[in-house]
Structure formats: structure tokens, C-alpha cells
Symmetry: C2
Subunit: 216 residues, 2 copies
């Protein structure tokens, strides 16, 4: 299974690529292909040191969409619209959104678009055959990158496509100690996206770093 | 320290009273004093069986407010306004809101009042000297009641009053294995209140019971 990461050289995307690549063929996309190639070189080296085989290929964002079965949009909310305007070819693909519309004001605040969530905005922007799934929203960039530490978090997953949701749940459960939970239809994504500003507030006010979540 | 529970015979209030009473003087309030007395009798018996001393007194909701230093509003959101209209005397008291404005539609949905959260609605309804704190929002009624099981959850606490917040954090940390976290000012409460519909969705779609949360 080929997983393409749009924004794969960004803060979240880079760690995500390294965590996914021992299990899946990962296509790292970037606005600049050279940057994606450099990220992959770095990732392959880092994983090799740890005795892990991997499959990492650096390409443009568009090529990442084109060659993948599953596309992860690892981009900040403020760049979502602009990035999608430059891309096409999402028809029939599973598109994973870890995007959280939020802002740092007096405290971290959930600032959804008028559709109600990044996921529902995506539903409007992408072709109707794209199978949008919300996942990976609340895992800090640093945690993705600390390859020697397990990711011991719960990951809520939303989608209106039952089959796509099960596939994404399967992917989540193969990464480190992540544990996926079905969090309902795509319209329930705002409850998942608004977890992230809460966790950032918890980190800030309790002098913690990279706070994550477990359901139990 | 005297803790009064408005709605202390309700689903959440009853278990809360039993969990708090070995540590604090708990004043259980109810619309009907007799019901509060019966709940206390039951609670005292249940704790006695477990070799735990306790202090539980059943009174009216108004008497619970009057005699307590700290008041917990253990009432569903839909009864919040109606209940507060019948009560007075919150001046200078710490008022804890575990209230979550939500509805069961296709899935559990966060339905805040126009103020943005139950906590900010309370700020409007209560006298300005009341020190409102958001806490205990995401612990299921059943978990409160299962006295033989530890409550091993994280509890986000919001308030604009730093001293009151620290006092509430102290109270939370004395109950079972609860772990309080400062979640910011009162205006950030909507992020805490909207956790509960998320957890109810997680429970529903994964066939789980009484899902709680841990930050780490």
C-alpha cells in the first residue's frame, strides 16, 4: 500500500513519514521536490541506524497524490486551501486529514471554518469520490520524530466511508503503540480537531511538552 | 472544607458525593430534602461496608449552597438555568461546573449556549464574586459510583481565579487516582466541555463503556 504525504517535509509530515515507512511505501511530497528528496535521505539514514528497513521516496506534492492510494494532508490549516488549489487527482483516494483549525490567542483556541471543521471543509473542496478520514490530529510533531520512543496514544478516526475508516484504523494500529478508535462520522470531526488546542493548553499551563491523549 | 453538591442525588452527583465524603464534609443537595437524606443514608452504608469513614449530610439544594464553601453544580445542562433560578447565595463561593452542553443527535454533539460554554453561561448567571471553575466534566456517572474501582483519569480545570483554581486542583487530586491539569482560563472551558461528547462517541462506536481520558 502506497501512502503519500502532502507536506511531507513539514513539522508533522517528516516524523510521520519516518514512522510509517518501515511498514508502508511512503511517498513524501513537498512543494520542492529537492526538499522531499533530502527529507527522505535523512529519514532512510535515521532508520538504517536503528536497523529498520524502509521505503521512502521524495517527490512533489502532486506526484505524492498521483502515486499514492492513501494521501495524508500534513499541512497547517492556514495552508490547506492554498495547497489544495495547486493539486488535483484525489478521485477515489482515501484522504487523511490530521488538520486542526486553531489559533494561539490568549490561549489555544479552536477556530473552525464555517463548514464546522477542517474535515467538512475538505469534503467541500475535494471531489465527491474522495474518501475523507480524520486521523492523527493530536500527536505532536516532536513525538513523531523521536523514533526511539513509542507513540503510546489513542487516535480517534472519523469518516463517512466505513471501508476507508477501517483501512485507516488498520494503518494507525500498525504504527508504534498507537491505538485507533472509531469516533463516528465525518461531521463529528470537530470534536477530534478541538482536542488539539485543549492539549496545547494543558501543555502550556502545566509546563509539559507534547501532551497526548489516551482513552480508557 | 465543606463541599455542597447541587443535584447531589442525580446520576453524577450521587457517586461524586460518595467519592468526596471520606475526604471532605459533603452536603448533598436535592430538590427534595428527603431524597438527599436517602442518598446519604445509602452512601454512608456503602462506605461503611468498605471500612471508610465519611461525612454526608442530605439537605435541600439551597441549604447545600448556603452551608458550603465550595458548590458543585452536578446537574444536566438542560436543567442548569431552571435550577439556578431557584437558588441564591453564591456570592464569594467557589462554584464547580462539571456541566456539558450536549445533545444526542446522529452522534453526540457539543451544543453550547451563545456564551460559548456552560461555564461562560454560569459567569453570566452567577454573581460576579462567585469563583467559577470547570472541573470533573468527563467522568462517567457509573465510574463515580463503582467505589471499588479507582478513578484513573485526567481532569482539566479552567478558571479565571487563580486561587480558586489551585484549590479545586487540590480537591481533584485527593480523589482516587484523579490527576488535575490546569486547562487555562474560564473562556477555554468549551474545549473541556466538548471532550465529553467525543468520549461518548468513542464509547458508542467502539462498544465500550464509560470511556475516560488521560493526558500524558
Amino acid at each position: 500500500m502506497k501512502i503519500g504525504i502532502v507536506g511531507g517535509t513539514g513539522d508533522i509530515g517528516e516524523g510521520m513519514a519516518m514512522r510509517l515507512s518501515p511498514q508502508f511505501d511512503v511517498i513524501v511530497g513537498s512543494r520542492e521536490k529537492e526538499k522531499a528528496e533530502a527529507t527522505c535521505e535523512f529519514g532512510i539514514e535515521a532508520l538504517k541506524k536503528r536497523g529498520q528497513k524502509c521505503s521512502l521516496t521524495g517527490v512533489s506534492n502532486q506526484a505524492a497524490v498521483d502515486s499514492a492510494d492513501i494521501v495524508i494532508l500534513a499541512i497547517p490549516f492556514k495552508h490547506l486551501l492554498g495547497t489544495l488549489e495547486t493539486l488535483h487527482g484525489f478521485e477515489g483516494k482515501i484522504v487523511i486529514s490530521p488538520v486542526n483549525p486553531m489559533e494561539k490567542r490568549d490561549f489555544f483556541t479552536f477556530v473552525p471554518p464555517q463548514e464546522g471543521s477542517a474535515a467538512l471543509l475538505l469534503k467541500k473542496l475535494l471531489p465527491p469520490t474522495a474518501k475523507i478520514c480524520t486521523a492523527f490530529n493530536s500527536i505532536a510533531a516532536n513525538r513523531w520524530k523521536l523514533l526511539d520512543e513509542e507513540l503510546d496514544y489513542s487516535v480517534p478516526v472519523c469518516s463517512d466511508d466505513a471501508e476507508a475508516k477501517q483501512q485507516v484504523i488498520g494503518i494507525v494500529n500498525r504504527i508504534s503503540k498507537l491505538h485507533a478508535f472509531d469516533a463516528g462520522p465525518l461531521a463529528a470531526s470537530y470534536l477530534v480537531e478541538s482536542l488539539t488546542p485543549l492539549l496545547l493548553n494543558i501543555a502550556r499551563y502545566n509546563k509539559m511538552k507534547d501532551v497526548g491523549i489516551q482513552f480508557h
